[in-house]
Structure formats: C-alpha cells, structure tokens
Symmetry: D2
C-alpha cells in the first residue's frame, strides 16, 4: 500500500495528541498537517501546546506548523484524509466544511454519529455500513465524506458483543467503570475522583444505549437498521488512568450455552484481521480465564492497546449470561479505532 | 435504659477495631471484654495489636487485657452480650460455644447467616425475624442465641430496597463498586488496586444474591420465607477507602412511578427510628437529588456513617427502574449494623 | 464574648466554602455576608455555586444572598470583620478597599503576606506581630486593617518549628508532599496526579522559604525582623485529598538533644491555648511516637483539623536533627488559621 | 556473543517475575532454570504461582519446572549464572552455597551488599569494583562469586550523582517518594496507601546512606573505599505503582555552576554504553527541562525502563544545588540492574 499524507483536526488537544502518538511510524499514513483554533494557528505544535501524554512530544510532530481549521488556508491545504479529534462544541460545522470540500473526515467526535447517513463504525463489526456513504454523498452533495467511530465505552461493549449477535441479543444491562482519560485534559478534577467514584458521566448512558443499537444493526435497503435490543447503561467514573471496564448481563432470543459464547469470543476474527490492516490486533477479543480478570491497569495496554479483553462469562440469575469487557479507551476506544476505520477505507479505495 | 457490659470476639482484628471505635461513648453498652487468639490472650490490647484505623487506639480500650475466645477462662467470664468480629475461618465453633453457654452473640461473620433458624438482620427491615430465635433456642438447646447481620454490600442494597418491597420486587441486577476496607487488613494489596479495578470478590456475588432474598423475606409459620425475587450481582473492588456504591436495575410486579419510589425512599422510617435507638440514623435513607450523587468519599461518613444514600432514581430501558445506593461498609455495613441490632434486642428484652 | 457578624470575600469559591463550613456553629462569629464576583451577586449562595466539599451545603449559608465585592452596595454593607478567601488574581485591590473603608480583613490570600507592615500570622507563634498594625494604619491612612496567614505548607512547617526556635535554627531543608485540595477546585487534573507525583508547585518553594523567615521573626523597633535562618524547600504534589506532609532536616546554633526537642514539641502551648480561643486545639502540636506516623489520611482530621502532628524526631547525618510534620491544609492551613487569627484579634479588642 | 543459559533463584516471587519478564528475548541469556522453595519445587511455574505483573505469564517460562534452591538436585543442575531474587530472609546461606559450588550469583538481595569483598554494582558507575572479586574468591575459597546491586532508591540517586562526583560531593540530603512495587507482593496494604503517604520504609534510610557511599567509592589498594560524603535520607511511600522519585540537595567541595552540572548529566555515558551492552540505555541519564518533570507515571517506562530521569537542577539556598531524580524501581532499580551487571561480567570474561 502506498503512503499517503494525513491531517488531524483538533490536533493540539488531548485526543489529538493520542492520534499523533498512534500515528507514529504508521506504514500507510504520514502525519503532515494539524488543524486547530486561531490561537494556535501559525505556531509550531511544540509552541502551541504542552504534551499531556506519557513521555515527550514526538520530535517530528513537534515541528509541524499548526493550520487554521479550514480545508485550505495561507499555511496550505489539508490532506485528503483528516482525522477529527475536535471537541464536540465546534466539530459539526468544521467537519461538514471539510467533507464538502472533498476531504474524507474520519471523526472521533460525537456530532454526526447518529445521523442516518453517517456510518458509526467499529471496524471488526460493521464494515458493510460503509455502503451508506454513497447515499451520504448523493443526498448532501458532498465530494468528500464523514465516517465516525463510537464513544469509548460503547466500543468496548460492542466489540465483546459482536460474536454474540448471532445468538439473538434481546436485552442488555451494563454498568461501566470508566477511566479519567476518557474525559480529556484537564477533564476530571482530582478532588472529584481520588479515593472516590463519580456515578455519572454526562450523556454517556444515552450514548451507550443508542450507539450500541446502531453499531450492531444491519445494512438493509440502503439504510442502517438498528438492532432491536433494549440496552440499559449505568455509567461511572473511577480512579483509573486508562481502560474502561464494563459488566454486562445479556438476554438472548434463546439462551446459549456459556461455553458456546466463550468459543465464539475466542475465535472471533473479522475483516481487519483478514485483510491484515496495520493497526488490527491479531486477536480482536482475548478471553481471560482467570476469575479476577480482565483488569484495566494490567490488561488494556497489551496488543498495542487494540484488543478488547473479555472475562467471567457465566450464567446470570436474572437475564441469561453475564460477563466482563475491558478495553483501552483512548486507543481502541478513540484514536486507534479511527485509524483502523481509515485503514479499512484505504483498502476499499475510499481514499483514492 | 441501664448500661450493660459487652465484649467483642475477634477484638484485635480490623473488624474488631471498628467495633471498638463504634462503641466509644455508647450510652447502653460499655466495652469491658475482648476475646482473641491464644497469641494475644493475656496481653493488653495496646500490646497485642496495632491500631489500623484513623487516629490512635482509644485509651480505655487500650488497657483491656485480652481474653481467650472462651465463655469463661482464667481471665474471667465474658459479658452476656458479645459482638463477633471473628474471621469466618474460626467463627463457627466459637460462636456456637458462646451461644450454648448462654451468651447473646451478635455476629458480623458470615458463618451462620444462612442458617434457617438464625435471623439475618437489618434492623430497619426485618425486626420481626427475631421471632425465629425461639425456634433456634428450642431446637439447638441453647441458653443463649446467635443473631447475624449481612455482608456490607448487601446491607447497602437492601436498605435502599426496603421501601420498594411493597411495590413487588421481581428481578434485580446490581453492580457494586466496593471499598478496600471491606477486605480487612492487610486485605487488598496496593499492587492490585492502585489505578485499577478488580472485578471479582470471592463469594460476594453469591452472598448478595442469597442474603438479599432472606433479609427481605417474610416471617411466616415460624419460618423466614425468602423473597421470591431473582437477584444477579456483579461485584467489583475499586480504589476507595470506605464506602460501597451499588448500581441497581429493578423490575416490579407492576411498574411504579419513579416519583412514588422516591417518595417512599425519602419517607422511609422504621423501628430503630420509632424507638429512638442510640445508633439509629434520624433518616435511614437519604435521597440525593444531585445528578452525580451519592459518592462514597463525599457522603458515607455523614449521619455518623449509619445512613444509606440513594440517588439517580430513573427509568430503566430494560427492567423498570434504576438507581444508586451508597453506604459506609465498615459502619452501616458491619460494626454499626451489629450494634443497632443489639440495641433493638435490648428493647425487646433479649439481653436481660 | 459577644457574637459579631462576619463576612467572606470570595465566598463562592472552594476556599470560601472551607470558611463557610469552619464557621458553622462558631460561638463568636455569625456568618451573614458573602461577597463574590458580579456573576454571582444577587443570587442565593445555593444558586450561585455548587458545594465542592463533603456532604451538602449548610442550609443557613445556602440562603445568604451573595453581594458584590464592595464594602457597601445595594445589597447592604459588609460586616466589620471579613475573611478573604479570594483568588490572588483579584485580592489586592479589593482587600485594600475594604481596609480603607474601615473593615478588618483577615486574609488567606498571598497578596499582602510579604508587605512589611502586614502581619503574617500563625496564632500560636507570633501574636506579637499584631503590633505592626498601628504602623499599617498610620502609614496607609486606613481606618481598617489587613492581617494575613501563610501558605498551607508553611503553616504546617512553622508550627512544628515554633518550639525549636529557642534552640537557634540556622538552616533548614524541607521536602513536602502536598494534598490536591491545596490547589482548589478544579485544581489539579486527575490525569496529572493519579498514580503519580508532580514535583513542582508554582511559587510554593519561594513562599515557604520567605514566609517561614517572616513568621518566625522578632517584632523589634516597630518592625518584623525575619529570622536569619536559611531555608530550602522541595515542593511536591501527591495523590492525597487533605493533609500536607513535610520532611525536615534542621541545623541549630548548637545541636540540641533529640529528647529535648521532643519535650519542647510535646509541651508546646501558646496564646490561643492560654486564652481558650474557640478554635484553638488543646494541644497545638501532637508528637506521635509510632515509627511510621504521622500520615495525612489517618491523622490530619483529628482535633478538628487544627493540630499539627510531628513524628520521627531523630538525628540527621548531615544537619543536626530531622523530623516529620503533618497538618490539615484547608483547615489548619487556611480557613481555620484565619479564624483563629480573628479570634485572637477579638480578644485584643481589634474587632470593636 | 554466544548465548548462555541462566537461572533465577527466588523465581516464583514478584522480583523473580520481574527477572523473567526482563529476560524475555534477551540476546545473550536464555532462561532455563528457576529455583524456589520446597513448596514449589517439582511444579511447572504456571502451577506454582500466579503472575503478578501486567499481562500474562510468558508462555515459555510458564513451562519451566521449578527446582529446589540447590546448585544441583534431582531436577538437574543450575546454570553457571544465576540471578538471585530471593527474599532477604533466606538469601544469605543459599547464595553462598551457590557461589561455593562455582556459580556466579548476581543478586538483587540486600544480604551481601555491604560485605567488604562483595561489589555493590551500578554498571555505569563502578565497573572497576569488579576487581574486588579476586579477593572474594581467594579469601572465601569459592569457585564462584557473588555480585550485588543496590536498593532501588539508591540506584536512582547514585545514577543521578554519578556525573557530579568529579565536582567533589561533600554532603547530601534526599527525600524519596517511592512506589509500592518496591515492597513486592502483597507488600503495601491498600488500606495504608490509598490517598495517603507512609513516611517510613524499614531500614531504607540506612541503606541509602551507606550504599551510596560504597557505590560512589574508589577501588584502591585492593579495597573499595567508600566516598567520604555525608548522606541523610527521608524515605516515604506514596500511591504510585512503579517509579521512585528523589529530591536531593547537594553540597560540593567547591560550588559548581548549575549549567556545568546539567552539561555533565546530559553528556554522561559510561562502560555499558561504550560496550553496547544489550540492556544499556542509549542515554543512561535524561535531563528533562520542563519545570514539573520527571514524574514517575509519565517517565519511568521510557527507554525500556533503564534510564534515570533528572530535572529541576537549580541552586539550593542551604547546600549548593538541588534537583530531582526518577527511575523505574523494578527495572532499573532491580531486575534490569542485575542483568546489566551480568552483561558487563560477560564482556569481562567472568561468565566463562
């Protein structure tokens, strides 16, 4: 595959920094462009912001001169492929302007996720939802397009559910314990979370409930038909740096054997694995047999942060089955998810 | 009410220390006796163990000479009322020996909780379960008796459920985020929990599932008839010092209005309040209207640690209603729970 | 002592909330006035801000209508005594305006601390520094006056040093481990401090170095003469909610015996204790003989948060002696310190 | 360099697991032998212990059958090179037995560190101390030998001091903030450290004071002559998983310019770098110019955990200069340190 240049909208923020780090050494995508607010435009990245992640700012990214958030400006034009790491408060109009101008916007922002003609992609789950893009371009009159990935907690959950869909998911109650990195920087105040749990994350429960249905839905008659399962989420913030943990109880059309679900989890492979996409984990789901795993601090950085870890599959006295899922919220749940989507689109010829 | 002398079995351990602290200045119960293992017997408390709780060992308790765990020994006889804070590995036989010898054993250990003729008491919920004691004494031929209180997470949950029982609880799925103090000392290794969640606590899920049914059960035909509701628990350990948080989704025989449940919670009062028991919280349940409360570090020490805090009552897309409950696991969930049970028994004449 | 009305400048912020809580039930000072920014003025406190501390906003304070930060405005005049909990960015001019208008400003802000004619008070240490106020009023032409208390880490340190001054402190190297509450709300980002140490706190080392000298200085010839000891501070932020811990190595004019220093610490009493000021701890310094104490989470809330805990007094291989000091940063180190200063001033007739 | 087989004494414990992980894929050393207590001997590693580190037990190590802690037993003979990760309570005799039997024991235990004829090695600092081994073998009549590495906090400190020795270090006051992983597993109880600091670590201050002098000493007249600098340490445990942070104030024979010290730190290279030892970091010391760095969670895993990070070099108002040092306590401070020592010995022909 040839190497193409890519950009990041919202390149100075914390999510942007996760994209920068994840793209380091990427075999197909070379980061050459960063868009941000007026305040940063014209400065080198190293002068525009502080590095919030572990270690130090990657040396090559540090020298990129930040552009305005415009498809083209006096600092030059953005590449065709731009990842959007923008804050939701500004993403809507800017992402549309880029799509209209012919760019492929692969967005981590929530703004367009529930639009009918925008795919909400988890690469291993719904590669076929890309087919909606034709309608998106036609109806909106865009030369470019917008593709989104879900909320971090939803990705972790839906990845674990993916091999279970065929058993007929009917109802689902989940409780999350989510890492502070999911709230960006400065994000959660230490006064709120040290030795504490905050049992509320704004709009998170609604997002998990709706996004899960769309992601697991079918593409049919030129539309994405949401899965008709009921979902209830209890979302909590805990004193963890990286890694969301989800407990789930699931009811199926017909109760499957626990061992059959475990087999399905352990053997789950999908398009990214088949095509050998550069960021695809060899095993997208890793089942851990230990009774007290997965655990966020001990597991989520394995497999380059791109696998989801499943454990404790067992019978549920109320619904049918219960289990744990755990994933890296800023890699598998954000930057890595978007990059994997872009890799899929590359193999589909959507970036030509 | 006259003041009586009381003792603590397992008085040198961490749970024992919680009893010691909770009994400081108690108007009815004067701590005069501590039972522990051979290793400690004959030493003053201050020489037998280190103080693991905040601050320093209470000066008067520090001078008590620890006895063997026998109803009477060369260091004298135990008082009629003994609280048991013993580790479950040794509690069964010792508690029975005390009951047989005529002592009233108010136990925090799990050993006898599920025995048919042993009341599993949450003072506000099932004061009538004390009526089983007649059978206990008759059938076992004991002069004394054993009363137990539940597991810390179960107390928090059942307190919140108490005013909801009348709406006909059918099914219940809960996820807990439990404090490390629940595991005693040294308990949870810091390497396991710093920046982490441990999604497993040995036997805890089974305990919550069974104990909840028994506590909320009816006393009928000389027996405790468990509530016929199905319960499913997901138990997790989080990096919190004190305070268990529970998320719950509940299904009722007929779906009640959220505002009716909230009214029932806010107005819940029971026997301990009516009788003005010394350790009874004025309001056993406190409903917090803030969208992000209750929180363990910020709420559980209020009301002397004896109230349970409820919040976020709202509709559940899968079952009927969902909410949060939060309580102090070592006070309301252990030492304080047992002392409140003993206070009730005092007013019932069971300690005469 | 009669009860007087008091106000709080910066009453909606986090430090202001600490003042509100500390003044609950105060026998001399009745809180009736809160000053804040234009944004809050005219609203009841409960509508102007969220409660950031444990538990819930005190019910009586919640109903106070917030005023502009002016000595008198359409919402009425401020009481004579106002505590200042204002952010340093705005405190200078507002505090001066109040002093000029005849108010006694007892400030926790850093702005005027190092002014030559402003006392930097730790009530137990330098009550005589109040004598500088005559000069302050004369030279500035003020009807009122300004009194300050030091930085939270400096109070903890100087309290422990107070009984050692007579041995002739020459040089001092300290390292601090400071709680996140010292940075206010939202203050330290959880991404910065979870499982981490931040070895830098802006201007804190300079403040500790200078303020310590002034506090421990003599009042002589109408001036405060700083102690001629050299001080070097290493300031660090750790994942603790409340309580600053300081390690200190000290060199004296002549090396005292460790046991003589310990005796001096254990027997330290001063003006607040002699006069029985309402907020004075019975023992301002508590020496802990355990080898691993004091510890912030276990000790600082004792004695109503107003004592400083000292431990591990031992020989230093480089300077003469080393030890630990630990105190509650938002009580003894801020709100409580200011209130205790005001109580002293009340007994001095400075509030008449 | 040819590949040799190596073993680990104490291979089932937590330090042993750090060795196992660090030796994964090592180009010179192939792990084939694990020694442990009777309880484990005869079992495969995977059956003898749980994996306490992140992720899962390395698959090849999992299959090694654990031997008794004897140079040769029915399960075969130990390789010539054995790393010792034994608990100090048992290390003395076992390590000697191995040395006597001709093994090269590279030990992380403290037992022999201060023996006159045992080198206490930090590979970058005192490679010449290996010269004492001739005397060790002669005087003890051993065919093998024992080499030790220091305590984790001492390594971090002495690495930072190494390039400063030439300026004539006279006196040194340090305060440490040490990670819980330094105490092994289960080690520090979560009840002790959550939201807290424990200002005491048994014997740690004495170890830092003595070991520092020996490590930085000269080899002269067939003996290791300790550096005649006075060292005072304040050791504290903080709520950090991995990474010790040290604040240091240093006095020199003649005060050097801060910029000269910084230059010396930035340009420090030594024998491991010159010889290209496999585990040697390219830059053993990394100076961080940011005012709030290094930080344990953000920095210590960089450079494979083998570099030490230095920051905030500045003037000290009491001694001459102060600074921060930070390193990975279980890699650079333990397993990695020992392996680097063994690599040096390999190039010296000591493993032939």
């Amino acid at each position: 595959m040839k190497t193409i240049e890519v950009g990041i909208l919202g390149g100075t923020g914390m999510v942007g920094q996760h994209f920068i780090r994840f793209l380091q050494g990427h075999p197909w995508f070379k980061l050459t462009w960063l868009g941000a607010s007026d305040r940063s435009a014209g400065k080198k990245l190293k002068d525009a912001t502080s590095w919030r992640l572990d270690g130090e700012m990657p040396a090559d990214a540090a020298e990129i001169v930040v552009s305005d958030s415009l498809p083209s400006s006096k600092t030059g034009s953005a590449p065709k492929l731009v990842f959007s790491a923008m804050d939701a408060s500004v993403a809507t109009e800017i992402e549309r302007a880029f799509a209209q101008a012919g760019h492929v916007v692969v967005s981590n922002s929530r703004n367009h996720r529930m639009d009918e003609d925008v795919p909400l992609m988890v690469t291993e789950i719904n590669a076929d939802h890309l087919r909606i893009l034709k309608r998106q371009q036609t109806e909106r009159g865009w030369k470019g397009l917008i593709v989104t990935n879900p909320n971090c907690s939803t990705i972790t959950l839906t990845m674990a559910l993916a091999p279970m869909v065929k058993f007929g998911i009917q109802r689902l109650i989940v409780a999350t314990m989510q890492a502070v990195s999911g709230a960006g920087y400065p994000g959660v105040a230490s006064m709120d979370i040290l030795g504490n749990v905050v049992p509320y994350i704004g709009s998170e429960e609604e997002k998990m409930q709706q996004e899960t249905q769309k992601i697991l839905g079918l593409f049919k008659d030129d539309a994405i038909v949401p899965l008709a399962a009921k979902v209830s989420a209890h979302c909590n913030r805990v004193a963890v740096v990286d890694g969301h943990l989800v407990t789930a109880s699931v009811e199926f059309a017909e109760k499957p054997a626990v061992k059959d679900l475990q087999f399905a989890v352990e053997n789950f492979r999908s398009v990214p694995q088949e095509r050998g996409l550069p960021s695809a984990p060899v095993r997208p789901l890793i089942y851990m047999p230990q009774q007290d795993r997965p655990q966020p601090r001990r597991d989520v950085t394995r497999e380059n942060g791109m696998a989801v870890f499943v454990g404790r599959l067992r019978e549920c006295p109320v619904l049918d089955v219960k289990f744990l899922a755990c994933g890296h919220n800023t890699i598998r749940g954000a930057a890595g998810a978007a990059v994997l989507n872009a890799e899929l689109m590359m193999t589909e010829g959507l970036l030509d």
